[in-house]
């Protein structure tokens, strides 16, 4: 089983990944509260980036509404906790199916009626927006007033109820990101993975090669949505408050997709690298501007945008394929 998972991974790749993992495991021991918060954000985006990448990077399905699955996961688990005292891990058992079903519904509508490309993207935005407006009026989740979880003291970590120190969330997200990386690699190298790539490359040719395009697109959406909803559950229990206006907002969906795009669409490590680059960039800009005493509203966003533009112009395939060649990890395309 383990040999199977490692099959085709070069020794060098393994060493580098191992080193990175050790650094990340040790990080909370040295990082201050602020840096830890930043690292949590990075892992959060790395994880969701991987989930989104399954749809866009593997199967070629552009979703601009992934905030929907984050929000559904967050709201489902949080509401079950607030109303019935159901712990987040049991809540997850409801959150994942809810998000996957939503994904399946959107997928069914789109693929059944051959809604593709930008039209599919618009459909995903539409459903995220439905949810944003809908949850504003949903009494069960306290509508626009927001759903609040009882805030715990950081006296001790209650992993079962996800009440505790940020370091606990950090390790959960680190585990999730690691598992997602392994899972994505396994998927990509499986029969399903090959069919996804074929569909991404040329849907009509894939169909003629015997691939049931509808089915494999549905699988991509369902897996991606379900995976994403886990991040939502963590989001809810980390921030302890949920507002439809924030959770389902299209900006959340855009944030999600920037990492994988900058890191490298369809690559396994790209979403992780992209999360480090983007969150790192954002934090560096804040620090630099603070140090310079620049206090003009919007300056940070302008610089952020310019940097993004430069990266994407210079490396349209993403940073990871370029970096991979630079550090001598010419892993064969799966």
């Amino acid at each position: 089983m383990i040999a199977r998972l490692l099959d085709g991974v070069s020794r060098r790749t393994l060493l580098m990944l191992g080193a990175l993992l050790i650094v990340l495991i040790a990080a909370p021991l040295f990082a201050g509260d602020y840096l830890l918060t930043v690292l949590i954000l990075i892992l959060y985006f790395a994880y969701i980036g991987q989930s989104w990448n399954i749809m866009m990077g593997f199967a070629g399905l552009l979703s601009l509404g992934h905030a929907l699955y984050v929000g559904l996961g967050a709201y489902t688990a949080a509401a079950l906790y607030v109303h019935f005292g159901v712990g987040p891990w049991f809540g997850l058992l409801a959150a994942v199916p809810v998000a996957s079903l939503a994904g399946a519904f959107i997928g069914f509508l789109a693929f059944r009626f051959r809604v593709a490309g930008v039209y599919f993207a618009i459909l995903t935005i539409a459903f995220a927006e439905f949810a944003r407006v809908g949850f504003d009026h949903l009494g069960w989740t306290r509508g626009s007033a927001g759903l609040f979880l009882p805030v715990a003291q950081y006296a001790h970590n209650d992993l079962w109820n996800l009440r505790g120190h940020p370091a606990m969330f950090y390790y959960i997200l680190l585990a999730a990101t690691t598992l997602a990386l392994i899972g994505c690699r396994a998927l990509l190298r499986s029969r399903i993975g090959y069919f996804w790539l074929a569909i991404r490359e040329d849907e009509e040719a894939a169909r003629s090669a015997g691939i049931d395009v509808f089915r494999y697109k549905m699988i991509a959406v369902v897996i991606s949505a379900g995976m994403t909803s886990f991040a939502g559950v963590i989001y809810a229990f980390y921030y302890n408050n949920l507002f439809p206006e924030q959770v389902f907002h299209i900006l959340r969906s855009i944030e999600i997709i920037l990492g994988p795009i900058v890191g490298g669409l369809g690559t396994l490590f790209g979403p992780i690298l992209g999360a480090f680059i983007l969150t790192g960039l954002s934090e560096t800009l804040t620090a630099v501007l603070n140090a310079l005493g620049v206090d003009i509203p919007g300056v940070k966003q302008v610089f952020y945008g310019v940097c993004l533009l430069l990266v994407i112009t210079a490396l349209p395939e993403g940073v990871w394929p370029w970096l991979r060649a630079r550090i001598g990890l010419k892993e064969r395309q799966p």
Partner: protein
């Protein structure tokens, strides 16, 4: 008689235009059947109906004893009909090998088995040495052979080839002909091809159907068909006989 593919009275019209007009023919198991005719004769439309891209307006298509004219392309492929496209469509971002692996996974659940099959097919089509290249970096003759490889990797009983010789130089054409001949001879694969290159048709086909304005105007053995008056007038021209 054991017809692998049986097309009966098939018609297709696009708005006012009758693209295929009541065409019937049988493809015998193990044969190489060529469909020829001038541009716009309805050859590709006929092909697309067999491959399931769209259903015929009238008539029926049976493969291996079962009706297939209502099936979508992926189901047709799984029944055992592999096809190529007139304008080649390999998966551009994938390696040559992975293009073939995708095809081979049709009837295989293990990627390793599919890879072994892909290697076998790529060797046959002289692409094995290029297996690590991206499909988008291949030359046209290579891409044409890759299309055949991908279709072949699905283990078809019938291979549909839509102008695989078009755009090839004579030496490349001969190479493709030799590959197809050996496939047909060694594995008993039945081939149905649309072709303009008469040199290839004459070398390969055991049977020819000539379409003109959507209708079949001649059918038979190659040497009969090329001497048919109607065929010479509408398509080949007099000089082709001596070619």
């Amino acid at each position: 008689m054991s017809a692998l593919l049986s097309v009966k009275g098939v018609s297709k019209r696009f708005r006012g235009l009758v693209a295929v007009d009541r065409v019937s023919f049988d493809v015998e198991k193990g044969g190489v059947f060529a469909v020829i005719g001038p541009n716009g004769a309805g050859k590709t439309t006929l092909f697309n109906m067999i491959a399931g891209m769209f259903p015929p307006d009238a008539g029926s298509i049976a493969f291996d004893g079962d009706r297939i004219d209502e099936l979508p392309p992926d189901r047709v492929c799984r029944r055992g009909i592999g096809r190529t496209f007139q304008i080649v469509r390999p998966f551009p971002g994938l390696s040559v090998e992975d293009n073939a692996v995708v095809g081979a996974l049709m009837h295989r659940y293990s990627v390793d088995d599919a890879r072994a099959r892909a290697h076998e097919v790529l060797r046959r089509l002289d692409l094995y040495d290029k297996r690590e290249q991206r499909a988008s970096s291949l030359t046209l003759p290579d891409r044409k052979r890759l299309e055949v490889a991908r279709a072949l990797a699905t283990d078809p009983k019938l291979l549909l080839l839509d102008e695989v010789m078009a755009g090839l130089r004579p030496t490349e054409t001969d190479r493709m002909v030799a590959i197809l001949q050996s496939l047909n001879r060694d594995t008993g694969l039945t081939i149905l091809l649309i072709e303009h290159v008469m040199r290839a048709v004459m070398a390969l086909a055991s049977h020819i159907l000539v379409l003109h304005h959507g209708a079949a105007i001649a059918e038979g053995r190659p040497e009969q068909v090329v001497r048919d008056r109607a065929v010479i007038d509408s398509y080949l021209g007099v000089e082709a006989i001596d070619a």
